[in-house]
Symmetry: C2
Amino acid sequence: MISDNMIRLAASNSAIRAMFEEGLRLAAEYGRENVFDFSLGNPNFPAPPEVNRALRDILEEEESTLVHGYMTNAGFPDVRDTVAASLNERFGGTFGKENIIMTAGAAGGLNIILKTLLNPGDEVIVFAPYFLEYGNYVNNYGGVIMPVHSAEPDFQPDAKLLKAAVTKKTKAVIINNPNNPTGVVYSENTIRSISEALDEKQKELGSPVYLISDEPYRELCYDGHSAVWLPNCFKNTIVCYSWSKSLSLPGERIGYLAIPPQAEDGARIAEAAAIAGRVLGFINAPSLMQRAAARCIRTSIDINCYDQNRKNLHGALTSLGFKTTYPAGAFYLWMKSPEPDEKVFVNKAKSLRLLLVPGSSFAGPGYVRIAYCVSPDMIPRSLPAFKELAGEYDLI
Amino acid sequence: MISDNMIRLAASNSAIRAMFEEGLRLAAEYGRENVFDFSLGNPNFPAPPEVNRALRDILEEEESTLVHGYMTNAGFPDVRDTVAASLNERFGGTFGKENIIMTAGAAGGLNIILKTLLNPGDEVIVFAPYFLEYGNYVNNYGGVIMPVHSAEPDFQPDAKLLKAAVTKKTKAVIINNPNNPTGVVYSENTIRSISEALDEKQKELGSPVYLISDEPYRELCYDGHSAVWLPNCFKNTIVCYSWSKSLSLPGERIGYLAIPPQAEDGARIAEAAAIAGRVLGFINAPSLMQRAAARCIRTSIDINCYDQNRKNLHGALTSLGFKTTYPAGAFYLWMKSPEPDEKVFVNKAKSLRLLLVPGSSFAGPGYVRIAYCVSPDMIPRSLPAFKELAGEYDLI
C-alpha cells in the first residue's frame, strides 16, 4: 500500500541496506576488529568538549520554556544574529538575522530551499560524481536533476559543460565543496569560472539561476586549502550549512540556510523558506541545539585527527600501487578501481572484509569511495587486507 | 523566483503573521502585561525537572559519538525498544522496535507517513474543524484533503458522514484526539462507530484505509477522561506521537510513529517510512532528545496547571454568558462567536487586547479558539476585557 514513489525508493535503498547487513554479518563471523568498514561518512571522533559544556550551561542558566520552546519558524533571533555576525566576521558581508534560517542539518536545509524554489519540471544541475540523495531531494518537489560530469584526474567542475547545460528550465545548481565523494576542494579558478558562466547565462536568460552550496565539510580542509566563500563570488548563492562534521553532531540535525542580502528576491526567499520548513513538518530546527551551536560558534573539531588518517591511508594505498586523488578536504578518498567494473573490485575487497562504496553510487563508475573518518587504529589494521587486494592486480 | 506553491503558502501565512505582528505592536504600545494573548498553542509551563536531569546524565554517562552520532534512520534501537515496551505496558499489544520510527515531532511524523502512503490524487479525510496545516501536509505529496464536518454542540465525528465520504481514492483518515481546536476528547462510542465504518468500507473497497492518529495531546485529558488507544479498535491505525506537550518540549522536535504489527502491509510501511524520513531530509530524529525521551518514558508534565486554567477560564466565560464547549482535553477552549461572523468578533476582542483565533482558521467558522496554555496569572488579568467584550453583546 506504499506509494509508487516509495516503492522505487525502497528498492534502490536495498543495495545500501544489503551492504550494511553484510557488514554486520562479517562482524559477527570474524569479529568487529577484523572488519574494515570504510563505507560510512559517520564521524568517529567525539564532539569537542565545548559542546557538552555549552549544553550543560544552557540547562543551568536559561529558562526551560525558552530552551525547549517554540520560537519563530526561522529559529531563535539571537542565534541567527550570532550566525550572521560570525559569517560577516569570517567572510565579510552584511548578513543580518533576516538572512539566516536555522535548519535540521544541511539535508533539511536543502529540502527547504528546493521546496521554496522549484516548480514541477524545473531543472537542477549537479556536478557528478555527486551524493545521489540530491536526486531524491530534487524529485520531492517535482524537479529534474541534470548531472554535469567532472573529469579525472582532478575532478574540478568544468564551467564550459555547466554553461552548455543551463537551459530556460534551470532553477538552480547544487555545488558541494569540499566534495563528497571525491575529497576535492574546488580551486579559486574553478569557482571564478563557474560564477562567470552563471552570470553570463543569467544575463542571457534574463532570470536568476541560484547556486545552492552544500557545505557540511566547509571546515575540513587540509594543507592550507580553504573553501572559497561563494556569496562573495556569485550573488545568487544560497549556503546550506551543517555542524554535523565541524562539531561532530551528525545525529543532532543542526545547521542553517544563509541567503545573502544581495541575492535576487532574497528577502522573499528567506521568508518563504521559513514557511516551507513549517509546511514540510520541520517546524523549527531543534531548539536546545540551536542555542548550543550559537555558544560554540568559534569552536570546531581538531581536524588533525582526520588529517592523520588521510596521510596514513593515502600514503599506504599509493605505495601499494593504487591510484587515488590526494584529497584536500572532507574525509573521503576517491580511488580508481584497478578493473573497469568497480563493483567487481568492491566485491573482491569485501571478501577481504574491506568495505568500500562503489563509485556508481555517486554517478562516478570506475572509482570507489573510501571514508577515512574512522578510528585511527583501523587504518594500520586494514593494510594487510589492502596489500592482499593489491596483490590480486598487477599494480606495481 | 519562489515556486507557485510557495507563493500561495506565503500569502495564506500572512494572516497569521499579521496577527502575530499586531500582538507585538499591542505589547509595545500597552505593555506586555496588558495584552492577553490566547492565540498560540505554545506551552507556558516548563519541562518536568526529570528532562534536564536526564539530559545532564546522558552527557555525563554516554559516549559522545553515540549520543550525538548518526544511527539507523528509524532511530536508536534501544530507544525504540523502550517506546515499544511502554506502549505494550500501557495499552497491551505486541509492539517491537521494528514498529517504531522516531520522528522530529508529530508534524515530522505526519509528513513522513503521508510521503510513504500517498500517490498524487489520493484523498485524505479529516474531521473539521481541524488544524489547517494538515491540508498543506497532504498537498506536499499531491494528495487531496476531504473535510467531513463534525456538528455542534459536542463536535464528535459523525461515522455516517465519514462512511459517505470514503471513496476508492481514500488512502487515509487523519484523526486528532484530544482535539485541536475544540478541546473535545472523542468518546468510546465515537471511536467504535468510526472503526466499524472504516472496517465496512475496507471490506467493500477491498483495500485498506489507514487511520492516522495525530496524538500530541494524548496525555492532556481531564476529569478522568482518556483518549482511546486506536490500534486496539482499528488495526490499520498509524499513531503519530509527540512529546511537545506531554514533556513541554515543542522546540525540540521529538516524537515517533507507531505502526502496529497487525496493520496491513505494516512491515513495508515501517521500512518505507524510515527511508521517507531520510529522503525528506529529516535523516533521523534529533539524537540527544531521542535518548532523553527514552529516559523520561514514564514522565509527564503535571496536567493540573492546564486543568486549573481550564476551570478558571471556562467558569469565568460561562458566567459572562459566552457559550463554550467544556473541554475534556488538550488546552483549547472552543467558544461560539456571539455574532455570525467570528472575524468581526475577533477584531472587537483585539481592540480590547484579547487575542483569539477565528474558527475559520480551522475550517470552523462561527467559533473562536482560545488557547489556555498560558501563564495562570494572565487569566484573572484578562477577565475585565472579556467582561467588556461580553457587554458589547446582550449575553446574559
